[in-house]
């Protein structure tokens, strides 16, 4: 993993570095800055599951009906970016985290328990609002993504951030 040009995107409002209330133009601009980041470290809140602990994202299903790359193509990337192999979940074991498939939903949308059950049938473990659009813009800009999702509280972020910082300093 290339830690040298890593950027933090914390959508949970907890850690000091790289706080964003939600995905938007501000996030897009950072991912498309020159030179672009090589790794986006994303923290987001997940819903529709019973987990009390965080997990690492290994893949996603975009159920939001939205793709931030719709529109004229930005020259930083291909018109039709390949988005397989963008999530880096190799370090899940070293961070003692399970891996999950997340569904991306439109910001603020909450699923009924029936719809959450349906989402599980489709192959997703939980849903969140920011990981998927951030990943799509990152992938388009040639940037890998290390994404961690956790319950809707502030209990897990600091520990995860410390572990990731430790990993990154070891790697350097």
């Amino acid at each position: 993993m290339d830690w040298s040009r890593a950027k933090w995107f914390d959508f949970t409002g907890t850690i000091k570095e790289g706080q964003f209330s939600r995905f938007g133009n501000e996030v897009i601009e950072i991912l498309r800055q020159s030179p672009p980041p090589k790794l986006a470290i994303v923290l987001d809140t997940a819903f529709g599951w019973q987990h009390k602990t965080p997990a690492m994202v290994r893949d996603h299903i975009n159920l939001s009906g939205y793709n931030p790359l719709i529109g004229p193509n930005h020259p930083i990337g291909e018109r039709f970016p390949v988005i397989q192999g963008i999530y880096n979940a190799d370090d899940a074991e070293r961070l003692a985290l399970e891996t999950v498939v997340v569904a991306g939903l439109k910001h603020g949308r909450r699923l009924s328990s029936d719809d959450a059950e349906f989402m599980h049938v489709l192959g997703a473990d939980c849903y969140c609002f920011n990981v998927v659009p951030t990943m799509l813009v990152a992938a388009h800009a040639g940037c890998k993504v290390l994404a961690i999702v956790g319950p809707d509280n502030h209990t897990w972020q600091a520990e995860i951030a410390a572990k990731i910082n430790e990993l990154s300093s070891c790697a350097r």
């Binding site: 299903i61 975009n62 009906g65 793709n67 529109g71 004229p72 039709f80």
Partner: protein, 280 residues
């Protein structure tokens, strides 16, 4: 913004037709839409060509989609007049639904009876191979504007059927052609999943639509089929399988894929000429 400008300049089907009719006053027997990388029907007799921009007032933005309209007679049977669209407008380009469906609405207004749509697609049925042609029997609409708030509801409905006299005719002609021509592979059939794109799918997304019984996936054709449904124009669609999603498959070189697509274009060209020339 470029897209804002194009939204303003889009014409109506009536205006688009007036531009075409000022040059050539015929009602084609059939319309053909050729998707990205698909070449066919390149030698129409007494051809009249227009750019998309000229007729519809909107520039397509995708490289590889030429965006031309050619009206001419089929060399194999000059009693048959065709209109061939090379390229199309896509939702992922940022075009409004009105623009994406404008060519189809123009064909309906024109009184064209049959529309054959083609597209390049990723195969998710493991029995498919690169270069196969798949007649669409149904599709999943994950593209329409009504799903802008999320596609869960779209996935909770049944796929839409698009089997009709025209798709049957394609199938029957394909079966005949496969008997008399060894180079013509038998046609496949299946259900198409239409995503907006422009990014390709993740493995989890491919697995999801595979579980839902879909056979291939691409980013077009659904708007045209939805627009034609309920109009007097019959529409059918043929997908070229340009790659097959499979975790076990070793990705072959891009050149092999291109070669296979070329072969598929040739077979599609044969099929269209065979079917349209005999009006079988």
């Amino acid at each position: 913004m470029k897209v804002e400008e194009t939204k303003v300049k889009a014409r109506t089907p009536e205006q688009a037709l007036a531009i075409i009719r000022s040059v050539v006053d015929v009602v084609p027997d059939a319309g053909i839409v050729l998707g990205s990388g698909i070449t066919a029907l390149q030698d129409l007799v007494e051809p009249h060509s227009f750019s998309f921009h000229q007729v519809f007032g909107v520039e397509p933005t995708v490289a590889g989609h030429a965006g031309t309209i050619t009206i001419g007679k089929l060399p194999e049977n000059e009693a048959v007049t065709l209109v061939v669209f090379r390229g199309r407008y896509h939702v992922y380009e940022g075009h409004d639904w009105d623009v994406v469906t404008l060519p189809t609405r123009t064909l309906i207004e024109w009184g064209v009876k049959e529309l054959i749509l083609t597209n390049a697609s990723g195969g998710i049925n493991p029995l498919f191979k690169v270069g196969d042609l798949m007649v669409m029997t149904g599709f999943r609409d994950l593209i329409s504007e009504k799903w802008r708030g999320g596609i869960i509801e779209a996935l909770q409905t049944f796929p839409k059927e698009c089997r009709n006299e025209l798709s049957e005719k394609i199938f029957v002609n394909g079966a005949r052609l496969a008997q008399i021509d060894k180079e013509f592979w038998p046609l496949k059939n299946g259900i198409y999943a239409g995503f907006t794109g422009p990014s390709y799918e993740t493995l989890a997304e491919v697995e999801m639509v595979r579980r839902m019984g879909c056979d291939n996936v691409a980013m077009s054709t659904v708007p045209e089929l939805l627009t034609a449904a309920g109009s007097p124009m019959k529409a059918a669609a043929v997908s070229v399988i340009t790659n097959v999603w499979n975790e076990d498959t070793v990705i072959t070189g891009h050149e092999e894929v291109l070669e296979a697509s070329k072969g598929a274009s040739k077979r599609l060209d044969k099929l269209l000429r065979y079917m349209l020339s005999g009006r079988r």
